[in-house]
Symmetry: C2
Subunit: 327 residues, 2 copies
């Protein structure tokens, strides 16, 4: 099958390139891509700062939605023409993408593919980090930093679905209000001074069981201070800096756990296991509309650089996606 | 029963004081103390830097050995006259001490009480931190910092007993050799420059599954660098400083876990549960002599300030204990 895909010839130029995709691997599906989700990792990859793993496709794009175009011989869960979304091991910025069948989820009829492309990375990142590494339990309190991001907006809704009290942060009062509307019980404005003080006043400082952090840097000690006894802080990004100064006495006096992961390094089998848990625990809420992916804007695939600029500006709320049908 | 105990009237003066101990609580034993172990927490408490928890005895001393002098009505595991060692909730620097029966271990006939007093804190600290929080498994590699300390010397031996490969650090070549004799497969000299380089040369950097750290400060990033993928770093002390600058990218790229605890804040039931695990997994090696507590020196209880000075000097190898029979 003929494929068109995006190649970044330099960090600031994107070209549409053609090639041919062979038959799918035994456990794979080939997807006719309608939409591809944009992630910060894509911007880093474009700039040469985050080379893909050796076994991954060099084409950018970590998640897609669309219809099944071909099936490997071991795949029985899907049929050609099914609407699905999927985590790809690279290769999403394209008209055709390859994914393992156990990394796919069936899209409900009511959900546009635009929205479906906003789900795989966010669902998997939040599930693995908050519920597996962070062991968030029903009735506990979780702080999801960055409630206006693709991950944050899904994370708040997933936490609620699993019976936790969700708190969040965002960078303006309008964004705080929007994150609250997604189900966060309290949202602090991280652009105002004294984040710890804001949570103290609201009665949450020292009472937060799990914190999902995308910022790092100077925020990490605030996280340690916000955490409850036996709290877990899960780090998935360092937008405010890689280096953090932390007080170890806080760690051992409160018996805190600081951990984190990057999805790209998660083994295939682990990803499949997480998808299975998501199918059981989260997918019913997607089907009945309790969890809604928030899409800020969709760009034609050829305008990927414009879309990346949009993400870099930080003006979006929710997810940015590419429409891959038009090339 | 009449008790004599130590009171620090100022940080630099100790007095022997008398009082009377009533009947033991239902789940308690009263111990006629032969020896009490000295811990760094005692020095901090003496200096007013580490006040005991509200429900603890204000008398210093966290572990003792001796003979059972009286039993609470629910206690069936021990009889009056039995030789035991025990974790106390304070009150060890005394002729009589109180402990919960499920925080006691029976001493083998071959073991002097001097040695028995070196066990409870070290066993519990290593068990809870390395095996429970750090989840060290058989066949994995563990780095126990401070192989010449009371905790380090027991930790190396416990790791070996549980089938792990033990590595350590110490502050002189003689101490390194002594830690190796306890069973450490490799011991680096932490007073020499480039600790990371030493472990690299020996082939262990990046391959260590669990690290037990008593130092903190500038050592923490070295720990993160030494750790293997999915490594766990367990922090129980900050002798080199409470503030650590760490690279969060190391944490999430390697999926590390940084955690820690202080035994004093561990709930009574948790301690009892750990003692039960120690009885099952470690005590047989104590009875057959595979694990030997190392006692550096024993001081009469009245000379407690001299003993504390000895600990502060850092010249000891293994444990310092107090002889409480002579007052």
């Amino acid at each position: 099958m003929e494929r068109r895909y995006i190649e970044f010839t330099t960090p600031e130029s994107a070209e549409v390139v053609d090639d041919t995709v062979g038959a799918p691997g035994d456990d794979d599906v080939i997807i006719s891509v309608h939409h591809a989700g944009i992630n910060r990792a894509d911007l880093l990859q474009r700039m040469g700062l985050y080379p893909p793993p050796e076994d991954a496709s060099p084409i950018p794009g970590l998640e897609v939605s669309g219809t099944v175009a071909a099936l490997g011989k071991n795949v029985s869960d899907f049929a050609v023409g099914d609407r699905i979304c999927a985590l790809t091991h690279g290769g999403g910025y394209a008209s055709l993408a390859i994914a393992r069948a156990d990394h796919c989820l069936p899209l409900p009829d009511s959900m546009a593919t635009e929205q479906g492309a906003a789900l795989p990375e966010a669902l998997l990142t939040v599930w693995y980090n908050v519920f597996e590494r962070g062991r968030l339990a029903s009735g506990e309190t979780v702080l999801i930093h960055g409630g206006s991001s693709g991950i944050g907006s899904i994370g708040i809704q997933m936490a609620r679905t699993m019976g936790a009290i969700a708190l969040s942060t965002a960078g303006s009062s309008a964004r705080c209000a929007a994150a609250a509307k997604l189900g966060a019980q309290y949202v602090a404005n991280h652009r105002e001074p004294d984040l710890l003080g804001q949570f103290s006043e609201a009665g949450y400082a020292g009472n937060i069981d799990v914190i999902l952090d995308i910022a790092g840097g100077d925020l990490m000690q605030t996280n340690l201070d916000l955490a409850a006894q036996d709290g877990r802080i899960v780090c998935i990004g360092v937008m405010r800096g890689m280096q953090s100064e932390i007080n170890l006495a806080t760690v051992f006096m409160k018996r805190l756990t600081l951990t984190g992961s990057t999805l790209r390094r998660l083994e295939t089998a682990e990803r499949a296991r997480c998808f299975q848990s998501i199918r059981e625990h989260i997918w019913p809420a997607i089907i009945n509309g309790t969890i809604t992916p928030i899409v800020d804007a969709s760009y034609p695939l050829q305008k990927v650089l414009e879309a990346h600029q949009h993400m870099q500006s930080g003006r979006h709320f929710g997810k940015l996606v590419l429409d891959c049908r038009l090339i």
